[in-house]
Structure formats: C-alpha cells, structure tokens
Symmetry: C2
Subunit: 339 residues, 2 copies
Amino acid sequence: MSDKPTTIKEIAKILKISVSTVSRALNDHSSIGLTTKMRVKKLASELNYEPNQKAIQFLHGKSFIIGVILPELSESFFSTAISGIEDIAYKRNYTVLLAQSHDDAEREKLLVEKMKTQRVDGLLVSVSKTTSTYEHFEIFKRLNIPVVFFDRIPPIKDIHYVASNLETGTYEAVNFLLKKGHRTIGMINGPNTLVASHERKEGYIKAMLSNRLKFDPTLIINSDLTEAGTIEVMDNMLNHRRKPTAIVTFNDYVALFAIRYTRSLNLNGIDFVSYANLPIINYMDYTPIASVEQFPYKQGKKAADILIDLINKPKNESGADQAYFNVVVESVLVVNDPK
Amino acid sequence: MSDKPTTIKEIAKILKISVSTVSRALNDHSSIGLTTKMRVKKLASELNYEPNQKAIQFLHGKSFIIGVILPELSESFFSTAISGIEDIAYKRNYTVLLAQSHDDAEREKLLVEKMKTQRVDGLLVSVSKTTSTYEHFEIFKRLNIPVVFFDRIPPIKDIHYVASNLETGTYEAVNFLLKKGHRTIGMINGPNTLVASHERKEGYIKAMLSNRLKFDPTLIINSDLTEAGTIEVMDNMLNHRRKPTAIVTFNDYVALFAIRYTRSLNLNGIDFVSYANLPIINYMDYTPIASVEQFPYKQGKKAADILIDLINKPKNESGADQAYFNVVVESVLVVNDPK
DNA sequence: TAATTTTGCGCAACCGTTTGCACACCAGTT
DNA sequence: AACTGGTGTGCAAACGGTTGCGCAAAATTA
C-alpha cells in the first residue's frame, strides 16, 4: 500500500504539466488558471500528497525548530517555564527541541553540540549549576544562530537574557520579616558562581541597611543546595552566637529540607521565607510563610518571544554592534495563607 | 565577519578540486589520497566548516528527530519519563521534539499535525485524558512513520505500546490492605475511558475474590481526578453504609486531595494506598502508607528504544501484517516508611 | 615494453521544492 | 498590420551534500 510519499513530480507527470505549475497551483499562486488549480488540488488530495518539509527546510535554510536546554524538568520552575516556551513557539509556528543537562556541565556541552548539528534556528538555555566555562555557546555566534539565556544566566557580557530580578524580591522578603519583628535573619544562599546568589545577597543587605540595621555577613551562609548541605548549614545557623529567628532560603526545596530538619529537632518558632512558590507547598503542613514568586511561565514566554524575534530579525546589515536584550521579570513576594 | 556558513563548494573552489573529492575527503573515503585529505581537512577546520544538516536530512529523508506528545510535564510521572526517553534518544543519536497537550484533545490533534509537518522520524504519545477519537494518529501509518504509545494508551487495536500493568500492582495493593486487616476497602478510580481504570478495577476484584471476600461494586467510585471531584467522591465514601477503613486512590495527587479533606474533617484512621510514588511524598507529613510504583523512567526508556528500533527496521518487505510491540512494565507496591 | 591493476580524482545525477525569467497565446488598442 | 498587455504555463537554476561510474596517471605485474 503506502509506498514512498507522493511528490510534486508524480502529480506533474500524471497531469502532464510541469512541476512548477503544480507547485504554484498548490500554493495558490495568482498566475495559475483556476481550472488547473482545481485539477492539481483534487489529485493532490486524492494521492494524500504532503509536501516534504525536509526539502522545504533545506531550500529556505530554516527548520522552524528552537532548541531548549535546561537543567531539570522535574523542577517545577522549569516544567512551568517550558510550557510558556512551548505556547509561544506553538503560536509562532515553531517547535521545541528539548534537552536536559541534569546540571552536568559536560552533558550540557554535548547537548549544545547536538543542537548545533540539528541546526536549530535558535537556542534557549538555562545553564547548569556546574557550568563554569561558556565557550561552547560561542559557536552559535559564529553560525549566526541566536541564543537567549533564561533564569540561570551565565556571568558574561554580550548575551541576550531573561531573568527575574531577585534583588527586589529578596528586599521585599527581608523587609517583610523585619516588619514582623524579626531582627536576626539568616540566609541560606546558593553557590557564588550563580548570578542569583549575588542578587539575593544584595537584596538582603539593602533591606537591612534601609532599616538602619547593621549587616552581619556571618548570617549569610552558602550551601550546595542538597539536603545534606542544607542540614550542615542549618547546624551552623542554629549554633550561631546570634541564632536567627527567621531564615531566608535559596529555594523551596532548601526550605523544605531546613524545615524538616528543625522539626526533627523539635525546634519551632523559626519563620522561613523562600523562593519559587512551588505548588507542593499547598500539600504541606509546615511551609515557608512567604515565597518570592518568579513567574516561570512568563519568563519562558518572554524568552521564547525574544528568541523568535531575533531569528526573524533582518541580518545585522552593517555588521555593527547589535543590541542585546536583557529583560528582567520582576519577582514579587507572595505571603502564604496560614493553615 | 561571519557571513554565510562555509560550504563544501567553497572549499572545492579554493583548493581547485571537485566537490565530490572534498565530500569524500571529509568522510574519510578510502579512495582519496592522504595528502588531499589533509589539505581538505585543514582548510575545512580553518574555515569552520560545518556540514549543513538540513541538506543531509533532505538527502537521506531522515531527520533524526523523534516527536513526543504527552499531557503535562509538571506531573512528575511525565517529567521522569521524558528523562528516560531523552537518555535513549541521546544514546542512539536522536533528538526529542517535545509538546504538551495539557490534557486537551483538540490541542493534541493540532500537535500531531505539527509533528507531521516537521516530519519527525517517529512519534511517542501518551494520550490526553480527554481524547476520545484516534483517527489523527492514522496519518502516521500512511506516512510509514512509527508511533509508540506509552502509559496512557488508547483503547484501540494494532498499535505499539509500553505501559505498566496496573492490575498486578493493584492486586498487590489490595492484598496488602487485606493483610493489614482491612475488610472494607474503597477505590477512587479514574474515568472509564482510560484503560488504566479497568486494570485497577480488575486488580481490585481479583484480590477480593482470591481472599474469598465478596466484591461490592459500590465501593469503587469514578472521579474526574480533580480536587473538587475527589472531595465529592470522598463524601460518598464517608456516607457509604459500609464506610471504608482503607481507600485505594487513582494516583498520589488524588490521595493528597483525599487525605487533606479527611484531615480537614478531623477524621483519622483511614489508610490510603495510591499509585505513582511521587517524590513529594517525602515532604509530606500525612501520606499514603503505600504506593504502586510504575517506573516512569524505565517506561520512557523502553518506549524510546522500541520507537527507534521501529524507525530503523527494514521496511515491511512483503507488506505483510507486521508485529506490534506491546510491552508491559510490571508495577510493584512500595510500602512507605512510617514517619 | 606492453599489459594489467591500483590509486586518485572528476563528472553528473539526484533528493523535492521554489522562483525568476521567457514565451506563447489571445484580446483589445492604435 | 503592428503594438501593447494580460494570462497561463514551462524551463532551468538553485539549495548542499552524496555517490555510481568513468577515466587518467601511476604502480605493479608479466
């Protein structure tokens, strides 16, 4: 039955007309007579003709595919972000080639390579936690394939990115705790390699200073964000000469580790504030009292939009220095309902 | 600077040799002299030559892309499954085109259409909850593009699929509850359109009968799997003339809704058993006492493997009836640690 | 030295579609 | 009778790479 797919040539041969006429007829070109158009279309649908996209992509040098590399889909932030990306891609007639780095810098490099050989029209990246060099993205500049980073952006210049401004969110969070009467506020921060860690720290400091409180750097401790790492940091916090009455944690997962640990020690009374606002919070009995919401869906949408704009932008004519899109999605503090 | 990418033709022109020689040199063809090879390769790397994959895909009629359509990445089952799919695809040199139906049958149809125009080499599908017709997958048969269903498989014949056998898992689950002394066991089941609902019911019945207990059909109630639907079903359960002392729920999410609801009524003492074994269970204070684990990663891997095998299988020569892969991944009951 | 094999390379077709250009035909205008 | 203008169609090149076949020069053999 179903042999090779029908081509435009076969239609031409059967109808004894040229392939160009068939092509134009199918594309409703104005210079083709109505009767010819009808004949062609009728036969085409009878033969279940489907244009060979590979030929078309080749001809136009476009694939209508955007690549997305992100660390971990099981993290709620990313699975939500990908929905935003997908929705925009869908709307603008692109499809999404997906790959997870699992926070492994080596794998990320290989994935970038793969995206290159697939010749995606553009690339969306949220870099892995362990990535410390960024040359593997350079290739894309040479190939004139736009790259947009989102959320986890590399600390380098001349890139397009979309990220949330955690400084303002953190400022709000610390302010919120201060207003609640807390004076000793700890922070479990992430690795210094992450831009986001600096922003959190800055937000924290600014909130303290603007409330005329002195900033104690020993109350900010970096963690590797694992459960074991979190417990270690918590031990330090709890044995600190100024034991915090409230703690800002790097994200909801860290908050959950920390809360579970304090509860296992039968410690109560420490307020936690966190980032991300995970849906699982709704299922928990003991949760952060507030979270900084980062709007992953919105970030994903925005990043995809920028990427597709870049793809369709007329080439940088003058070869001049082009502008870089640096979009910041404001983060806001969401106070959780008390249970 | 970076103009159009280098092509094989330019290399040929510069070196004053033919394109075929360049092509063969780059592919280490045996009939090319060593010196020519060296010259070609040297120049190629100097010019940052990258073969145009679109041309190659066109030539071979292959894209090395597999499409994946699934309902919802934020469901842990699917985000884990996609990792399995991706890992296999990666290993076997394919990439993954992803799309979420968000459990919307209409959107699913459009996505199938898109996958078709992208001419994926194969398709992996977990159908949406609301899908009730399946003709949109027929096109792929005509185009000779293999389709493998996983987890949520449609109730039709002549398809390839990978799914877990929930009957055995359910049997184990009910047996487990019976051994614990429960005699009145409720079940919150899913819509009857899902194959999985039937399997659960069958497992339930078999466990009861094999323990010489009579099966009470009114203790199995179907739900739409939303929180509101779950609460409604729970109300029915709790007002049942035989109030269950244990309940088997369709999945962990339903279990969480149900548990939360019973706790809001200050009801204790009902044991819940569920499916999926979500990681968030670890963060919960009140959880199902056991879950049927369905091994999403394994299912994803298996499905991808089968799909790629099908893609690379020599065409069905005789046009004869080909075999369909129906793989069942056994599910097992995992008893949760008491907190 | 002539015949034969091997080595190294080029020619040209091909994959399916689009598109600039030419051309033939017919009608209406000078 | 020559000219203009539209209408409908076909020719052929182009996109970038692969590959069967042929052919010349060099190396081997008789």
